[in-house]
């Protein structure tokens, strides 16, 4: 199965990369910036959707992991002038360690207690920046300079380069997560999520599986934080509030928990809806006190609507619609069903190709 599906996923990733590159050249430079913002969001949400959808653990603290990644990157770029790729890798590594530490504690907690513990992390960690303003720049944070490499020429827009870098990292993350999803580790996460006792009886090390899921999700958040640092050019505590952690979870839920394609849909909604609604509100000449609150209301309305119409998120809804058009087809699967038995490999492949192809946007 993996022998055939890995080259296929790689192929899909290349196609997606070409489409993103094409879009980034066709669209204006602000759309490039939005592509970069979406890629940042996708990177973080993909990790979270694996954690919550697959291993069944909830985290309200992934914004804090993004902060760790962001500050690590900023400090390395500012003080040691590291190349971004190196800073990105180290940011991922540092957050992986942080994720392991939190994961050890999290593996002992369930449901609301786990949510509470991670909430604490999300609220408290960004405040560390205030405690050592000399290092972290306090409230106004650290400015990160990021420029286009010389070989692209002086006229190459910075936002396009940011979009390329972020999308590349997001794609690689999605590719790796897709492989993990279909691997033994992904199956052990699903087994743990569905029934810990049964999983343990089958020889799965439940605690290790749960901790590993936390490490993976924290690493993704760390990479996203590193990308955010170079996209906005700033790491400040105001960027990593609890609102961010909740927005990440919202994106995962809206898109469809446990689905990588869903992570992409959710990110699109979270990034594009507020801008679009603001544009509509201002172009209709609403007073600023009304207009400025409409995006917040729209966000809530979208969340409620999606949950009512597509309880399994956008991806779940799309899958249902596709089934309507094409008939039941090969054994369709939703995120909460058991792993597909090896006799029907095509279903797994179908899903894999969905995930990555929808990653286009």
């Amino acid at each position: 199965m993996t022998m055939r599906s890995l080259p296929r996923r790689l192929g899909v990733a290349v196609v997606v990369a070409v489409i993103v590159a094409f879009l980034s050249i066709k669209l204006n430079t602000f759309r490039d910036y939005q592509i970069a913002e979406i890629a940042v969001e996708v990177t973080a949400v993909a990790g979270l959707t694996m954690l919550t959808g697959l291993s069944g653990q909830i985290s309200l603290g992934n914004g804090a992991f993004m902060a760790i990644g962001g500050y690590t990157t900023a400090l390395l770029l500012i003080h040691l002038s590291w190349p971004f790729v190196a800073a990105l890798v180290l940011a991922g590594a540092v957050t992986a360690v942080a994720g392991a530490v939190v994961g050890v504690a999290a593996a002992r907690l369930r449901g609301p207690y786990l949510a509470g513990a991670t909430l604490l992390l999300g609220v408290a960690l960004p405040s560390v920046a205030y405690a050592w303003p000399g290092i972290f720049g306090g409230d106004q944070g650290l400015n990160v300079a990021f420029t286009t490499p010389g070989f692209l020429g002086a006229t190459f827009p910075l936002t396009r380069w940011q979009a390329w870098v972020s999308s590349l990292v997001a794609l690689i993350t999605l590719l790796l997560l897709a492989n993990l999803y279909h691997s033994r580790i992904g199956r052990s996460w699903r087994a743990v999520r569905d029934d810990e006792v049964a999983a343990a009886l089958d020889g799965v090390n439940v605690a290790a599986a749960r901790i590993l899921a936390f490490v993976v999700s924290a690493t993704c958040a760390g990479l996203a934080g590193a990308l955010l640092a170079i996209v906005t050019g700033l790491v400040a505590p105001g960027a990593f509030t609890i609102t961010l952690s909740i927005a990440l979870l919202t994106a995962a839920v809206i898109g469809g928990l446990g689905s990588l394609a869903g992570a992409v849909w959710g990110s699109l909604v979270i990034v594009l809806v507020p801008t679009y609604v603001t544009d509509v509100a201002t172009s209709h000449g609403l007073s600023s006190s009304v207009g400025s609150n409409i995006p917040v209301a729209a966000y809530g309305a979208v969340l409620i609507l999606v949950m009512l119409v597509f309880p399994q998120g956008i991806q779940g809804g799309l899958r249902r619609l596709l089934t309507l058009f094409t008939g039941p087809g090969p054994k369709t699967r939703t995120w909460h069903t058991a792993p597909t038995p090896p006799e029907t490999p095509s279903a797994d492949q179908a899903q894999a190709s969905h995930h990555e192809k929808e990653g286009t946007s």
Binding site: T29, D139, G233, A236, S288, Q349, A350, T360
Partner: protein
Amino acid sequence: MKRPNRLRWQAAAIVTVAALAVAACSSSSSSSSSSSPSSGSSSAALTASAPGITSTTITIGSHQPLTGPAAPGYDEIAPASAAYFAYVNAHGGVYGRKIVYKYLNDAYDPTTTASVVRQLVLQDNVYAIFNGLGTPTHLAVVQFLNSEKVPDVFVASGCECWNDPTTYPETFGWQLDYVREGKILGQYVKQHFAGKKVAYFYQDDEFGMDGVKGLDDEIPASMVVSKQSYVDTNVNVAPQVAALRASGAQVVISFSIPAFTALLKLNSLKLGFSPQLVVSNVGSDPITLSGLLESFAKQGGATVNGNALTNGIITDDYLPSAGDTSNSWVALFTKVRNEYDAKAPLDGNMFYGMAAAYTFVQAMLKAGRNPTRADLVSAVEGGLPQGPMISPFAYSSSDHAGATGAFIGVIKNGVEVQQGPILTTDTSASGAITTYTGSEQQAPASGIPSP
């Protein structure tokens, strides 16, 4: 055979939908950008001389806290500026062009600021960013604006950091900077409260720290018994107020935004602690403050009289007091407000927004009939008349700071009353504070500056 086909079909459908969605999102932008660089040949003299300038319009942008912790009070500023621009547009505009003012909400969050300012510059092609509000927020975009060579005029923050012509040639301050303000308040406290115990309460960022720097230039360290800071994301300031009370301070100088001035006052009240409050201009508008005090107290289940609580607060101002009805600027801005922004309260924030807009119109008139972006920068560097300001601007090619002086005011019955003369100074520790002897300017009868 059948299965791969279906797969391919599904994938193609998804890719198409995604591409269409992205294309749909971009359609609004492409239509707006095609309309902005208009030919301009129809009206002979006026041309599309710069991004954001057409033969009929000047489009400028801003980031403002319309929701979030800094919104109370500050959300009136941009609508007031827009009202003044509407007044100018209705009376002939700037060389016949109408000013289109697009201000977006950043909720006082630097990441959102980074995003909305890129939208204004990269997508909406604004000519300049005008009056972007907030120190931490504007710091998130100042590098971007300067690298894109977008004029960044009259930042709505008194951070000394905007005055850095070498690093930020496009950026200009406008209001009195916090160092000058701290010095003027500090001198007053030193002279009028000699021998008393003084404490500071300040926002933990450039705003508060610049203010403290100015205060420390004037107030001897031996007088200061405590320095407490807060962050604007944490509304629990009870520990800081308890520390101020424990220090035995008789005078508390506060560099705070309005919401935190109100929290300081209410927490002090709860502890039976009533020092003389000295509040920086930013956090002392009497009407905003009184409204906040009443609504915060109501949330806590208590009833207070806002005006009674603000009575006696010492502050400073670089614009005429909004309560001074005999002032020609107050008369003008009240008239504009009644016509274009009638629901807004007649307070210092409204006055601030209009005064900044007035300065912008002055600068645009000076920049010429068909200005480039560089023309606006050199117009401001050439110096501007002080207009509604009570002291001259510092603008020159080597100085991008705005107002240079203020008077001390005391709040009485919800109105700020001037005490003593207008004082001007510079930002250096040794720079003297002198009484300003020049006269204030009167508002033009037309309400619009002359070119």
